[in-house]
Subunit: 332 residues, 6 copies
């Protein structure tokens, strides 16, 4: 392993080796899909229309997570879940009811696309939270049973709020993508800081759209991974075809101390809709990365991503390979 | 059977029992799909590009219907058809040529999404009929061979005109959805009355969009079923994703005497695109209910619906279960 | 006078003679504007933001009318008014509160662009009335004090409902323009009949857009005038420039017995925005004709029209000249 | 004076008495326009295409301000200016060059619609500042010569950031209107707090659109005025006609300690485009209030507002009358 | 005169001296408007709704031109005209009927925004000509009585085709602006060559939009003027406000031999809508330059431009000043 | 064979016989799909995201072609390829680098949807080439190794430039579809001529949209085939559903000497998306014909078309059948 990963060894992450060659002319993709995909079916629990764009973390020798569950009214909810192996999941049949939510935040109208990260002494959850439009909701939990809601990080309209796994320059740090109140046809990634998870400022521009697969908008995906090369940030990019949006996954390296400085950024995606569970579903042609499990010792990485806004799927790869891919064809 | 259905016993409706459990965590859907789906293939007859959104009725110990057939010029036509078992259909290779059509109605440019109902002494057909824009065409037949066209019920622009199976308060009654001249991004259901099938008035508002799956527009589906609990109205609702419309099926109960008064209305859909024949086709992600066959004695219900604007599919269930579903999570 | 007008002599209509020539190269317009324009200022009454698109009729040796008054909340209201000379108006400071309005019609949300006509034994008022969208409201009055509201003529969405001044073929007859729920970018004129002012049917297509000034939409204006040449129908047409809509006034002749048959229709407008009170205001570039006073004996015609959706203005001309203008450059 | 105003006596504010009645039927408007309007012409300085939407404050026995100046490239700039009488202004011919602007904020691309307020020990300026889209720029000055730029208050996209004139609950407080990156067709007013003018949070919803003149969007205008009845907030509302936006001015009263709580809010506007300098210009039909001068002793208020996005105009009134107007026809 | 103009002395061009200073703070505009504006009224001839965007040339000791005349059907036509002094014009009451028009070009549906230029032995006219969409029509005349139509220069969609006054590199040369079939919201200027006025090629990119007043689209205006500094090209630029397009006039210098190379281009406009005849009319806020008369001896230049798509106006200036303006604040 | 084909015998074209009947009611489609579809997979070469809309020709007893390859940045590139049997292809891993490209054409930004044809002494390639927007690029090759780029045929915006296989009336001839700079929602087919492949003119209108499957736009597909009945032109047509565009293939016959004259044109498509590789992929529901191989002796025709903007597929049929299909239900 050439790259050093700052993090815990996670020997028990769900892992599948790279499959044998496809036999095509010299092709070798950076990551490969799980043979068990989709690992979470759309109708896993009684109320679910679909389960996707969800976040998992290691928890007590096993795994826990927060899941986007659209119910059969197509209401967007957050459910907690647990798994022994990271592949087979038990999801609560009831949505998360946040504790301590101030009445000024209004009723819980919807919550979607959660991310989860351990910082210092607890798990923080961020998600797209309705507050007279979508913005970034913030909560914390110690046990994935009780979730304490804090102030929204930003004014609407915002989506894809992703915390860094530690303070930077003494402050909490978050990536986000300012949006509008619809199917936002634009979107750049910004960086913001907070001394206390309540007040946010020092807003910085990270990067915006580029050609091709990321020409309509971009948004941060899983919690960034700290490496000796910089923050490894996996993100989604969107292209607008005559028949709608296509969501793919790419990656970049950000400066460790000033993460709004981009060290390298791959020109190409590393995962794009090709299978039926990515191309067919409630929103065709979506690969939406939301979480990783990464073993700091081996560099193995399991990526969780939403397929077609309908199911949860997984892909596997090595951090080394991802960083090679970023640097070998960087647009920065 | 808890609910009383006002209608004929139809012991010969096509029926399949509920399949064994899917094994998921406690899930039990309200209706289940036919194992023979799609029951009508897109290329059943020589000229057909697709056959969908069609209406069937019991007729002389067997079944008859009016079918939307888009030909290979993608012209929308209506064809009559007959079936012994309600599943295997013979469709006329030629479209219906209406008799008695007044010249002021102009040429027959297109007709689509028919409904058929027996009222008093004949079968009435309503459909979306071009008259300088889409509006509700009306005709009647005694034999599914000769169809007599009447005046259009309304000015354009209108779609999804659905007659009640008997007079209400002494007048014919129709649900419809006022529209515009394109892919209407709005739509509520209204109720109108006519003393004579020529002049219409006493327009009433029934209901409009609600959250999630029915947030863009709603439109009446099959002929309402009269029950001791009210009119059972199955309807479609539309959600707009970033990649287009998604059509699902839900249901409501309307007051027997004042059908614009909503007794109960399910918050959730009961059928939504999940299979390949619903998710892939000329218009992906469409479940469009148009007709039912219902046995008043057992409460068995066979639902005919269009899949992906391409094929005809069927689902089965019990009226009791549908009414439970409506009342247990009603938004009224 | 070459054309015979079927109607009452109105010797007291407000009249100004054609002004002396403008001196340009041989130009002679069909109608001429009042020198007292705008005859009703936007701020005539305490609550008014604007007063425009209004209808007047002869009443008891003087004049009465129903006026569109947008208040300073920009809520669209209808006010009754009276005038001795047809030019100086007293408007009620309170909006019309309709009597007998059925609760199924919902609250009075807005009413605009009224027309008034005497038929048989009373004055009928039609206007654009909110009913889950704009549609045609109908009421009658005997005294311009008490107004009795009837059923809406049509389902939404509709605007510019204009009654004929007598039954045709034994039925009430109305022109209207089916619309959508916004700033409708299309619109044709249709004709409908009713035996009783409650149920409407026998819908017929009259005409749609044509080139230039009437290329976006057209809508009926004042009550049609019965003449020996046919119904004289003044209407508005709309052109879409890169800076919005331009409303002008044109005219056509319709068959007396089958008014959906167009005898002649002028290719050109006869009045289009040119003065400051037509080009500058809440909606720039609007000439919107809503009413005429016509003396059957002399053929003198006073036209009332809205200017810039802000004020009421008048123009004068002779029915003979209008019919010459229609026939000399007809597109039918 | 019924209402107590918390603020300084300003006996020298530019003042014109209410003009004699217009003679219309009983009409009495809440404020009246200056007879010297527009008080600042579009071409006052050599480079100016237009001067409008600008903020003034009392300064050293006279007046100073920050002005939106669009140059003849139609680039939006901020210029400082001075006036002895508040009506005749000297504007710097060069735009403000901010001091201390961090390089992470990028180049100064544009700045517009400034507000100015004295808090504690200095004048703060807020404006719409480009930062990969519009957001709220913040700076301070002691002398209207040197302006020190701070961090942007929020992520893009935001406009109409307006500071309160004192800390509330120990924190700086700002109103703003989250927006998108174009001619935003929506917009509600939010409230945010900051301990230090760097980090912002505790975001609260104040109010959104309502009917008529404020049905498209609303945005805060001048610095709120503290009174014994609550914060007097003048704001603009926008209506969308078929020919574009119409900007008018209305007012509301906010709770002194929890300003996101609305005590009263006028249903009607108090100023709307009627004069040529409001209806004709670079953007027709705009009245855009940005600043007031208020004499706490007499309750006299001079309002500065932009006309047609082209010139600066003034209107006069009494705080008492404004509060009566708000409370007498409140929609809260 | 610092700049040498390659062209004829035209001592009789209509000329007005610069008016006395406006008294504002040091302001001196590059050009000044005629005191006789608008020099051609909208209703000059019997059929005209408006006359604007027209081209004039010196002709036989006097002047001739081709004029855009929209008739009262708002049909866009071309009329020939003559003038003794360049200010007072006689326009033919009938539109130009082109001679030799091939039947493959279809009927004459519309023609607008003409330009006229003398090349070698005749006057060439170009205009926006319907050919299943707008494209560049080409014709020639010797006498402004008979006009011979040639092949369209390009495929649709194109507008603002402007010929250079001599061959360049042995070929005819034309500027144009590729467009779409509506109110094109984009537009760059291209250069093309032809050996024979029939076949066109060697297409080159000249320049596109830039900030502010020219941020939506740009299009060539009058025939370029050959000077010792390069081709002086006056053009229009468009800005999109929330209430529509604003058309202004700017200028650039192009390389004499390779005119697609831009030597200098002014950052600012030199003429923008400010007067009532530019801000109010069929299309508010339009200044559209189409022709110049230039005296090579004195450098005096008379500019003809359309006002508000309604009238013809004039402005005056010196070529020297225009070139100074271009070079002193160039964005190239 | 009833129709005579002017062209070479190609006994080695890849051919599959019509499969046995599908068993449906009397249905017999004009062409049938290859059982080996898709013949080129999306991931054939290391860099490819997708390979589609590509052109093949017979070359030295085997086959060669130019292929649209979108790489994993979703950049659109052109690659050359070779095949022994026309079904199994070897594609160069590197894109074509054109020789002789003039610097005025700018960088190669993208190239897509190529066509290839032999004329006189070389193979010409046309494609959609970026030149400040899409237009028609032209190049030639003798060996499919070195490609010499010429001038762009037209100004932007244009797509689907298709050369005829011989001079017509002594000039090169090309079909094309003028477009705009986005997902053009309109489009007609035009014909143009060139004496020298540099300058183009004599533009003629061929045909535009018609009902149903070709109601949004149409564009030429493979190189037209010369027959005794006229030019056999296969083209694509587009229908806009509520979920986006649907691309189908139809055909027409054009006059041999004046190809803008349409002899016959089928009302119906002959191939439309039905299989998974046509309905699911980067752009669902696309059948896009780009090339044919035709044996003049037997009339056998192999059609190459893109599926879902993702893969290359083939279909087979006889020229006789295609011409029967065109003539038996022609809309001309």
């Amino acid at each position: 392993m050439r790259v050093r990963i700052i993090g815990e060894p996670l020997p028990n992450i769900p892992w599948e080796d790279r499959p044998a060659s496809t036999g095509h002319q010299g092709r070798l993709d950076v990551v490969w899909r799980s043979e068990r995909n989709p690992v979470i079916a759309r109708d896993l629990i009684p109320c679910s229309n679909s389960i996707f764009n969800s976040a998992v973390v290691p928890y007590k020798e096993a795994f826990a997570g927060v899941f986007r569950v659209d119910d059969m009214g197509r209401q967007m909810q957050l459910h907690a879940g647990r798994s022994e192996d990271g592949v087979t999941w038990d999801l609560n049949h009831e949505r998360i009811e946040f504790v301590g939510r101030k009445k000024e935040l209004g009723d819980f109208i919807y919550g979607y696309d959660p991310r989860v990260v351990w910082i210092e002494d607890r798990y923080y959850v961020t998600w797209c939270n309705w507050f007279h439009g979508p913005t970034i909701g913030v909560a914390y939990t110690h046990d994935f049973e009780s979730f304490h809601q804090l102030e929204n990080a930003f004014l609407p309209f915002n989506r894809n709020g992703v915390l860094f796994p530690r303070r930077i320059n003494g402050r909490f740090a978050m990536l986000s993508r300012p949006s509008d109140n619809g199917h936002t046809p634009f979107g750049d990634i910004f960086y913001s800081e907070s001394p206390d998870m309540d007040f946010w400022g020092n807003h910085r521009y990270v990067f915006g759209t580029a050609g091709g697969w990321q020409s309509t908008k971009v948004g941060a995906g899983p919690i960034p991974i700290e490496t000796s090369e910089g923050w490894l940030m996996i993100y989604h990019g969107v292209l607008t075809s005559c028949n709608g949006y296509v969501y793919s996954a790419g990656a970049a390296l950000l400066d460790l101390d000033e993460p709004w400085k981009v060290i390298a950024r791959a020109r190409t995606y590393f995962l794009s809709p090709r299978t039926l569970y990515e191309c067919v579903g409630d929103v065709p042609n979506v690969v939406f990365p939301c979480a990783t499990l990464c073993d700091a010792e081996t560099g193995r990485l399991a990526l969780y991503y939403g397929g077609a806004d309908t199911v949860v799927a997984m892909a596997f790869g090595y951090v080394d390979d991802l960083i090679d891919y970023i640097k070998s064809d960087s647009i920065v």
